[in-house]
Every structure is written in structure tokens, then in C-alpha cells.
Amino acid sequence: MLGKTAGSLFWMLRYLERAENISRLIDAGFRIALTRSEDAADEWESVLKATAAAQSYTQCHDVIDTKNVVDFLLRSPKNASSVYSCFKAARENGRNARTALTREMWEAVNEGWMRLDVDLKNPVSTKDLPAVLSLVRQQCSLVRGAMQGTMLRNDCYDFAQLGIFIERADCTARLLDVKYYILLPSVNLVGSSIDNAQWETILRSVSAERAFHWLYPGNIKAPDIAEFLILDRRMPRSLAFCAREVTHSLDYIRGAYKTSPPSYEMAYDLRALVEQININQIFNIGLHEFVTNFLSATAALAGQIATDYRFTV
């Protein structure tokens, strides 16, 4: 396949994953704003940071308030990681990779874009926000579903998978990065209702509040959340789960191409970061340091994949 096509597939799925994750973050932030309005500004600030939009936000707005932040995260063309911008970029990449997509996949991304283009034309009212956010997630699921159900399991599929899991690992790690201070064991000693709400928000941001309660019934403990999001291989948005999927995809490509470029080893190194360690060791290293390290390893891996498989000239 063409290097450009591989790159477009990778980025199409990556942008969709990003759009979906951002809609989750808005959802979680919005809930805080509704229930604990005094904490809203702090919460929005961390969401802006997690989506790397804090700087561009301050260029457009003086104060952080719910209405402006939601609008900026959802619809702003000035925000490269707004849901709107991500979906637009996903569709553009889809057009570029049109010959590598099945008809159902293409129609799913095209129709998703057309619906969102209409729904995001004007500012979304508080009343409509939940429906719009769930539409975003539905449309992304549709594309992934069409991909699972119709796509040939060849290298096209593998590059698409890489896009999904590299972005997902990145998103979860960013969330941990802006919230690490409430996940430290010491916080647990304090244990107040404020922390409880914060923890719920984190879990909601990865759509895992139910899963977590099933695995850890009773009181929420901060280190459990950290362990769950970083090391639990059953959790489809954990760092360990994503890193493992990334190595699987690269395994398949290696099998087909009969070469092991540098990215192959880097992927296994990334996986080792989250597999050959336990949560206590992570706290000893320092949660923040650990996550920062993981983020830069992920970014380096993504860059190396693009080089190894000639996404661009």
C-alpha cells in the first residue's frame, strides 16, 4: 500500500478517537459544572490542558467559563483539537485514503461528518449538549464497527488500529498527567467528598465508572484508579491495554513485510514500561514522572512509525 494511504488511515482513526475522547472530557467537565459550579473553572482548566488547547483558548477568551470552554472544545475551528476540527480532519484523511476504506466505513465517516457539520453549525445549548456529545461517540463507534465488520485484515487494518490505540494511550496518559495529584496515595488519607467527585470525573472521562465499581467494590481509593487506568489489561482504555494492541498490530505488519524497523522495538519498550512494573513501583518513581515518560515514549513511537512506513516524503 502507499505510504500516504497508511498515514491517512492512521490519522483518520486517530482523529476519530480524539474526537470521541474529547467529547467524554466535555461530558465529565460539564457534569462538574452542573453539580459543583464552584469547581468548574479548575476542572475546565485541566480539560483544556489535557486536550492541549489551553494556550489557544487563552488567545481567544479572557476567562474560563463553561459556555466558552464547551464551545471551544466542541466547535471552534480555531482549536485544532475541537471535536469539529478532529472530525473534519478525520473525514479529510478518509477521503485521502478512500481506496483503502470499505464503502461502509467511508459512508460512516462521511455521514458522521455531515450530521456533525449540521449539529455544530451553531452554539449548542445546554439542553442539547448531552445529545450532541453522545452523537459524537455514536458516530465514532459506527466507523469502528464498520471497520471491524468489513475491513480486510491486511496492513490497512493494522495501520488503522495503530491510529486508534496510539491516540487512546495518549489520551488516557494526558488525563493522568493533569489529574495525577489527586491520584497519589497521600490524597487517599485526606479522603473527602471533593476527592470522590474528582475521582468519579476521571472514571467518567474514560467511560469506566461502572467497570471500576465492578472490579473495586466499596470505597474508591486513589491508587486503585491509577492502577486501573495504567496497568489493568482488561480495561480497554488503560495504558497497558493500548500498548499491547500497538505491539500486536506491529507484529502483524512485521509478519507480512518480513522486516523489523526501529518502531517495532520501540513499541515493545513502551509495552514493557507498563507491563514490567507494579503500581507501588510507579508511585516510587513518581506518578507524574512516570506518565510524562510514557507520553514522550508514545510520541516518539508515533513519529518512528510514520518514518518507518513512509507516511510522508
Binding site: 500500500m1 502507499l2 500516504k4 477521503r95 478512500r98 464503502r103 467511508w106 459512508e107 513512509r310
Partner: protein
């Protein structure tokens, strides 16, 4: 559809019977459905000069245009003859120029023509084919009376509409295809692949030549079609930056490295094909591709320089060109054409602007033309000064008494003018005409302009079996 007495013509009989049984409300609903299908599939085109990302749908009309088998057969013969002559003409122009020596086509028309590519002089394309894909634009004035409006010998577009229109009709009105025996068009992409493969350079002809579609990119107005054809043929769609020259071959950048391409179906204009040989600022082409081509290392379809045959000034010589190369009179008629470069013609044209259609010699897409009968006095006056400033740039034609076909409008069936572009595939051993083509229809009453860029629509084209 109907003759003067209001009875259905034979080819339309079965369709008309069916139509009379339908209620208009549900037909209108079907039209809405069709539009949704087109949008979802992404069958859109970009209109130049409109705001960025303005993707528009071409209006689709649900009433098919139906052509009887016998009429089609006759038409096919004329098209085959014309396409053969076009190929012979281009080969001659870039080699011995017999037709110029014989004084049939004036030399200055070639030498001063922008579409004439000196780079092609003496170059023998693989399989000796210049125009692998041709679209001949026809209009009908009466039974068995077709006129050629224009030859498209560069990169004719619209074939994806032919295919998608049929798909849409099959989905919406499956019962119609049980009542009417319509010749299929859906094997066009396969035939295109075969035809391109047969024209691969001799040295690389092997069992499965590598074919790629070269597109200017996703912002091109016809990108949908480029991707569609690549997808249907099962080959890569590349842009200039995906290609480079390696070891005397044109190679594409794949995830495993650079691999050679044997045949390039290009949808990029000549000028942009090669920044080393043509426009240096072009980023759409491949530096050095012309040199590889001239050395026989790759097939470019259509060959560079074929525009010399579909130029509107050359068009008026087509009957003589056909006679010269095939030895027989042209089976398909030309529309009478005044060349404004000739003094007598110019004075006739300037005096009769309100009756004529005047076109730019190098124009396309319906831009920059004057439709006299539909123009205001002011528009005519303006056009006249443009014409007089550069008469050689224009030709003029009478408006023909075009036949009409009904479209399904708000008030039911309504007659509209239309044209037809059949698609012809030329390979070293055969000429293939897909039974059908792109029917473009003026959606406005009495309008003669069918170009999609000017609001024209399309409809499915049926050629019946005998």
C-alpha cells in the same frame, strides 16, 4: 419520450407504462432518497471560485434516457470511426504531419496551438495509443440524428456518474429493470483496467501490470471520481508527491519502499504533469516523468499532447480529418462551425450573435461562452468587444433544434434539453464503447447549458438490448 401524437416511442413504451402507474408523491420521496444516497456516498464535486470545501451535488433526475438498440449500434459505428481518426490524427501530428502537408488542416493551427506539445514529437507511445479514454459529446436533433458537439480526448470526466446513476436506479426502482432489458454498464472499471493493462510498456506487460490513478488531490473538483475509479479497479490513487523517479522507472512510495508503476491513468493536465518539462511551479506532477515516458518506461493515459485533437478550432476540421485517415465520409455529423479567425466568418458571427453559441477555443465546462438566444443585449455587446479583441480565440455555432427528454419536475414530466457523453476505451487490439454514458440535462426550462458547473443535472442512460 412521446411523439407528436402523445404516444410513447417504442424504446420508452415499457417505462412510460410503468410511470403512468406511479403516484407522484412517492416518486418525489424517492428523489429525496436518491439525494441522500449521493450525499452519503460522497458523490460531490467542488465548484471553483466558491468558498472552500463547497461540495455540491449534481442534481439527479429519476427519469432515464432510453436509447433503442438499433440507434445505439449506428451511433457506435460513428463513434468508433471518429475515435480511430482522432488517434491517427494525433500520431500523424507528432510524426510525419501528412495532413498538414496535404493542406487539409492549416499548419499554423497546430504550430500556434497551446495544446500542441513539442515534447511529443517523434515519441511513440506504448501500443501506439494516444487516447485510451475518450468521451464524445453528442446531441440529438431527431431519430437517428446525432451531432458531435465536442470531442474530449484529454481526461474526460463523468464516468463515475454513469456508474453511480445506474446503481442508484437499481436500488430505487429494481422493478424497472425486470420490465426493461437494459445493457449493463457496471463492468466499465474492469474494462478500463484491462484496457490500461493492455497498453502497458511492452517490457513490463507481464501478467499483472501495476496501474495507478494520478490525481491532483482531494480538493480537485473530480476527486470523487478519481478515488472511485481507483477503488473499483483495485489500484492505488497517487498524487505527485507519492511518485518519484528511480532507476529509470516511475515509482510510488509504499509502506515497504518505492515500487515501479507501469501505467499511470492521469487526471492531471499536461501542463502540470512534470515541473522539469512543463510548468516549473507545478506541485501536482512528477519531476522527470516525461523523460521516462519518452524512453518507454511508463504508459501515461491519455498521452500528453492529445489536446491537439479536441481543441475547438480543430473540431471544425473533423469531417476532413476523418475522411483523410479512414478514407470514408464521417458517419457522425459535426455541428456547422464558424471559425472567427476567418474574416468572413467573423463578420457573419458578429452580425448574428443573438442567434449563435460562441465558445472559447480552449474553454471547457461552459465557462466563458455566450448563448446568444438567452443573452441580454448588454451581455451580447460586452461579449462582442471581447470577441473582436481576439477573434482567433473563438468559434461560433448555431443553436440546433435539440430534441428533449422529460425530467420529473415539480409539475410532473417536463421537457428539457440534454446531451450524451458515451465513454470509449481504446487499447491496442480493440475499441470498447460502454452502452450508455453520461446524460447531462439542463434543469432549467428552455436552457441549452447542461454543464454541471452551470447547474446542469444528470440522468441514467439506458441502451436496450435487441
Amino acid at each position: 419520450m412521446l411523439d407528436q401524437n402523445g404516444t410513447a416511442r417504442p424504446a420508452y413504451q415499457a417505462y412510460y407504462d410503468w410511470f403512468c402507474r406511479q403516484d407522484h408523491k412517492s416518486l418525489r420521496r424517492k428523489m429525496g432518497e436518491a439525494e441522500a444516497v449521493f450525499r452519503r456516498t460522497g458523490i460531490t464535486f467542488n465548484v471553483y471560485g466558491k468558498k472552500e470545501a463547497a461540495e455540491r451535488l449534481i442534481p439527479f433526475d429519476i427519469v432515464p434516457r432510453i436509447i433503442a438498440a438499433a440507434e445505439w449500434q449506428k451511433l457506435s459505428k460513428g463513434i468508433t470511426q471518429r475515435v480511430q481518426a482522432i488517434n491517427a490524427f494525433i500520431a500523424d501530428i507528432y510524426h510525419n504531419q501528412e495532413i498538414l502537408k496535404a493542406g487539409i488542416v492549416p499548419e499554423k493551427l497546430i504550430a500556434r496551438n497551446q495544446a500542441f506539445l513539442p515534447h511529443m514529437i517523434g515519441v511513440k507511445p506504448p501500443g501506439n495509443i494516444y487516447t485510451h479514454i475518450v468521451g464524445i459529446d453528442l446531441v440529438r436533433t431527431g431519430p437517428d440524428e446525432f451531432f458531435v458537439l465536442e470531442d474530449n480526448a484529454r481526461t474526460p470526466s463523468g464516468v463515475s456518474y454513469m456508474l453511480e446513476n445506474r446503481e442508484t436506479m437499481l436500488k430505487m426502482f429494481p422493478e424497472l429493470f425486470a420490465d426493461n432489458r437494459v445493457q449493463p454498464v457496471n463492468d466499465y472499471p474492469r474494462k478500463l483496467w484491462n484496457s490500461l493493462a493492455a497498453s502497458a510498456p511492452e517490457a513490463f506487460k507481464g501478467s499483472k501490470p501495476v496501474i495507478a490513478v494520478l490525481t491532483p488531490g482531494i480538493h480537485n473538483s473530480a476527486y470523487f471520481e478519481h478515488a472511485f475509479l481507483a477503488d473499483e479497479m483495485g489500484c492505488e490513487i497517487v498524487e505527485g508527491h507519492d511518485l518519484r523517479i528511480y532507476n529509470g522507472r516511475v515509482c510510488m512510495r509504499t509502506t515497504r519502499g518505492y515500487t515501479p508503476v507501469d501505467v499511470i491513468y492521469r487526471r492531471v493536465d499536461d501542463d502540470y504533469l512534470d515541473p522539469l518539462n512543463f510548468k516549473p511551479e507545478s506541485t501536482l506532477g512528477v519531476a522527470g516523468i516525461m523523460d521516462i515516458y519518452r524512453a518507454g518506461g511508463v504508459t501515461i493515459a491519455n498521452a500528453p499532447g492529445t489536446g491537439i485533437a479536441d481543441d475547438k478550432a480543430i473540431y471544425s476540421y473533423m469531417p476532413d480529418i476523418i475522411k483523410f485517415y479512414t478514407g470514408k465520409p464521417a458517419l457522425l455529423k459535426n455541428v456547422p462551425t464558424w471559425r472567427c479567425s476567418e474574416r468572413e466568418s467573423l463578420s457573419y458571427v458578429t452580425e448574428n450573435l443573438s442567434e449563435l453559441v460562441v465558445k472559447e477555443v480552449h474553454g471547457s465546462g461552459g465557462y466563458g461562452m455566450l448563448v446568444g438566444p438567452a443573452a441580454s443585449r448588454n451581455e451580447i455587446a460586452k461579449f462582442k468587444s471581447k470577441l473582436l479583441a481576439d477573434p482567433g480565440n473563438y468559434i461560433a455555432q448555431p443553436t440546433l433544434a435539440l430534441s428533449t427528454t422529460p425530467i420529473f419536475s415539480k409539475s410532473g414530466l417536463a421537457p428539457r434539453h440534454l446531451d450524451l457523453r458515451p465513454f470509449v476505451l481504446v487499447s491496442p487490439d480493440r475499441i470498447d464503447i460502454t452502452p450508455g454514458g453520461l446524460t447531462r440535462v439542463a434543469m432549467k426550462k428552455d436552457s441549452l447549458v447542461v454543464n454541471s458547473s452551470q447547474g446542469g443535472g444528470t440522468k441514467d442512460t439506458w441502451v436496450l438490448t435487441e
